[in-house]
């Protein structure tokens, strides 16, 4: 395996040793997983969503299992940017794997405030702008479903930092491509596609929704075909790297996303199923590379594309 080249480039400042990133909210801030050797295989870690002020998060129940997936409504529980920048970031120093901070906000000012506080923090390899978390009430969602708002918040954050800026798309929209283009126009260095799909489940005994928040974000293998389509269409429409997210359970799944047009792949829910998810998925990618006889992971890319029914519409 030694001679395989697994590195991928998101930006000149964000070149990853492997194409795998731990997805935000599924890896905390990296500390618990470090204890169990869970960093293995990852080219980058993405932190839990971080806000200006600490958030206690939603009432439980916060998660529910559904077929081939799970719903979550954590409510962005996090200690706030002060703790992340002042206490956590310095401790990332000794890690080989770079950490990208996922940021959330209720307003453009909030987002900018988080980024500005992070500017003075060490070991922040990049910013992932979460404009798509479906779990926090009103404002949190709107940026991601409207091209204008998405452009505005991206532009504001862009002007607040020179660090690699990844914007994470919400799939709960009619026309993902036009929103993606607006975000790229606003200066995003890369896109993550996609966040969770809004869903719910009800309890037959009580007749009420299972999650205290009523709705939750659907993740896991159930959404993989939907995320693949999102990556396929967006990667064909924009010039910047697309980082896939949605239902990766194996190296083959990661390869499927690379074939769909992704440059790197996030692993989320699988971290809950296997503390060695990063290494498990990476080994699967390496096995595939050996099967098909490619030395560089960059060689796993889309076959010349056919027009998708969806693209045709647009």
């Amino acid at each position: 395996m030694a001679e395989l080249d697994l590195s991928v480039r998101i930006t000149d400042d964000l070149v990853l040793a492997t194409p795998l990133m731990a997805a935000s909210g599924t890896f905390g801030f990296g500390f618990e997983m470090e204890k169990v050797g869970g960093h293995a295989g990852y080219g980058a870690l993405i932190s839990k969503g971080t806000s200006v002020e600490p958030r206690v998060g939603n009432e439980p129940p916060r998660i529910a299992e559904v077929p081939a997936g799970m719903l979550n409504a954590i409510g962005l529980q996090n200690p706030g940017v002060e703790v992340v920048a002042g206490t956590y970031a310095p401790r990332w120093e000794e890690w080989e794997v770079p950490v990208v901070v996922n940021i959330v906000g209720d307003s453009v000012e909030d987002y900018v405030a988080v980024v500005e506080r992070l500017e003075s923090a060490p070991n922040v390899a990049g910013i992932e702008l979460n404009i798509s978390c479906p779990n926090v009430g009103a404002k949190g969602l709107m940026f991601g479903v409207d091209a204008g708002l998405a452009h505005a918040v991206t532009a504001a954050v862009r002007s607040a930092t020179a660090r690699p800026l990844i914007v994470k798309l919400t799939p709960n929209v009619t026309d993902l491509v036009s929103i993606a283009q607006a975000i790229v126009d606003a200066g995003a260095d890369a896109l993550s596609a996609v966040n969770t799909y809004v869903g719910m489940t009800l309890d037959l005994q009580s007749g009420k929704p299972v999650l205290a928040n009523v709705t939750g974000g659907l993740s896991g293998p159930a959404i993989r075909p939907l995320a693949l389509h999102a990556v396929y269409t967006v990667s064909r429409a924009v010039s910047v790297p697309v980082i896939a997210s949605g239902g990766v359970m194996s190296g083959d799944d990661a390869v499927e996303f690379l074939l769909a047009g992704a440059v790197a792949v996030q692993v989320g829910t699988l971290n809950f199923l296997r503390p060695d998810a990063g290494r498990f998925v990476l080994q699967g990618i390496e096995a595939h590379m050996q099967r098909i006889g490619v030395r560089s992971v960059g060689e796993i890319r889309p076959a010349e594309s056919q027009p998708s029914a969806q693209e045709a519409v647009r």
Partner: protein, 292 residues
């Protein structure tokens, strides 16, 4: 490079089924050969078991150590069938393997003297055989309060290691006191050096009320809590219960065994049932033994 890092010993191990036994009607004991986990497990800790290989059911299932035999390299879990995951486990045969994460969570604190009062309701009995074993080893007196709806749902006292002083309660009065196990507690508080409790949330919260009434004079009490779990490692923040600091505590790392004062029982009560069972597998016929 990091790809060579390894998991902390024992965290991820395949357990091979060596015994399956119906201990009480509908309650199964599964013995898994899993040397590393069995060497490390402590009373009140749990394992997170992957029941299926396919994408459904997706999540692991948490189970307390019921008993452990480190010499034999085995641990037992005790469970009833409430859905897809436990149905798979209840159908497991000798030789079949399940991958488990563990040992996880905070254990019960075993006192080194005096009297340990164990309060168990329903399947809350699960962790106590191992607790009793540790208590016996330390020469600690083990008082066993077990409540259930009816007699045959009480855990067989003879299956608890060591010298056990048992007091029982059944709601239908078919054995011991007619009523709830918590009604047995008050009379025991004086003698108790420490209390360990595990059972349905209403039982734990009734116990918390009793302890609250006794204020400073109440003995220290540790309770094993339940919440739906994703990671069981502290990262997903899915398994929380409200804590007295106004925020939330993660059952998987701040628990499953917690000091009863960590939990905000008023907020918890207001939240209603945290546990919801899924619709069982819908398609009959496949992949089942005839007769099952």
């Amino acid at each position: 490079m990091s790809a060579t890092a390894t998991l902390s010993p024992g965290l991820l191990e395949r357990g091979v089924v060596s015994l399956r036994e119906e201990v009480m009607p509908g309650v199964w004991k599964l013995r898994l050969h899993s040397p590393r986990i069995s060497a490390l497990g402590r009373p009140g800790q749990f394992v997170h078991i992957q029941c299926a290989q396919a994408a459904d059911p997706l999540l692991r299932r948490p189970f307390s150590f019921c008993d452990i035999n480190p010499a034999a390299g085995t641990y037992d879990i005790l469970f009833n069938v409430t859905g897809q995951g436990t149905a798979i486990l209840a159908a497991a045969e000798a030789g079949q393997a399940f991958e488990a994460l563990g040992p996880l969570g905070r254990p019960f604190t075993i006192p080194d003297h005096g009297t340990l009062l164990a309060v168990a309701g329903g399947l809350g009995v699960a962790p106590f055989p191992l607790v009793a074993r540790f208590a016996a080893e330390r020469g600690v007196r083990f008082r066993w309060l077990n409540g259930a709806y009816t007699a045959n749902q009480l855990f067989p006292v003879d299956q608890l290691p060591g010298a056990v002083e048992a007091r029982l309660a059944t709601e239908d009065g078919s054995a011991g006191l007619r009523g709830r196990v918590t009604e047995l507690v008050r009379a025991e508080l004086q003698e108790a050096t420490m209390i360990h409790a595990c059972g349905p949330t209403p039982m734990l919260s009734a116990l918390a009320d009793i302890l609250f009434d006794h204020g400073g004079s109440a003995p220290p009490c540790e309770m094993s809590l339940e919440a739906p779990m994703g990671c069981a490692l502290g990262t997903c923040l899915g398994c929380v219960v409200p804590s007295t600091d106004g925020g939330y505590a993660r059952v998987c790392v701040e628990g499953a065994v917690m000091d009863w004062r960590t939990v905000d029982w008023i907020r918890l009560a207001a939240m209603g049932e945290l546990i919801h069972h899924r619709t069982p597998p819908s398609r009959v016929g496949a992949d089942v033994k005839v007769g099952d």
